[in-house]
Symmetry: C2
Subunit: 125 residues, 2 copies
DNA sequence: CCAGAAATTAGGTCATTGCCTAATTATCTA
DNA sequence: TAGATAATTAGGCAATGACCTAATTTCTGG
């Protein structure tokens, strides 16, 4: 398993990947893109159509999200489909919260269970 | 209860507070400060001493974190003590993850329980 | 009151980000 | 192959952010 692709699993919250993730999330349009993709995969054009912003700008946002490992792209003919990389966001943020927030530490085992459950889901899905 | 002070409780992940939180978290030094404060409260000077950075720069970072509602300041004589606002970080990130990450949605009730438990903890103190 | 320490504010520089338009690449179809 | 559509890359510009030094505020102790 590639370390960066599935960041958040065991990687400490001080790793290199987490920086890109938080930078990616610091932008409202990018968070909005993630929200859209949480409902269904979309082409770059479909995403751009939902914004009052030029296509190249959206393309840049998509690139930032992809480099952060939060979304995946797949070319299909002349279209490029984007989809959420589901584990990464939750795991990265979860890992960080566990490092920083004392309250959250007790649920460390739960998040572990969550990751396991997700693994199962993927395998069955 | 002030809405912004305890952001993340019911506030949608599209609110104004979340933007400040994510911007605050986009900086490695600021995340490091949060990690320090998760172990104990510290004065501005004690925090600055842990960084290879000027005190004014640290002061600015502290201000960003405070405006985001992630830390609290308390003046004691000539010192200023900073401490973590524990609920806010976990709740804000949790709320966002629930909005975006399909896997995480089923644990919505758990996070609610977590918030409740935290309330109790605070009250018993 | 004055010297000194803690912390912030003020002001300036430099790099980065976010947006745009124009140009380019890749693909489909007639 | 030519023309149209999807998407990206290239390049430029304004705004923002992160750092610094110097100056200021706020408190303590002699």
């Amino acid at each position: 398993m590639s370390k960066e692709a599935q960041a958040g699993g065991d990687e400490p919250a001080t790793g290199a990947g987490i920086q890109r993730v938080f930078e990616a999330l610091a932008s409202a349009p990018r968070r909005r893109i993630l929200a859209y993709l949480s409902h269904s995969s979309l082409t770059a054009g479909e995403i751009a159509a939902r914004f009052d912003m030029s296509k190249p700008s959206i393309s840049q946002h998509l690139n930032v999200l992809e480099v952060a490992g939060l979304i995946a792209r797949e070319r299909k003919g002349q279209f490029v489909h984007y989809s959420l990389v589901e584990n990464n966001l939750a795991n990265t943020l979860n890992g960080f919260v566990q490092d920083v927030c004392p309250v959250a530490r007790p649920i460390k085992r739960e998040s572990k269970a969550l990751a396991a459950a997700k693994g199962r889901e993927k395998a069955e899905g």
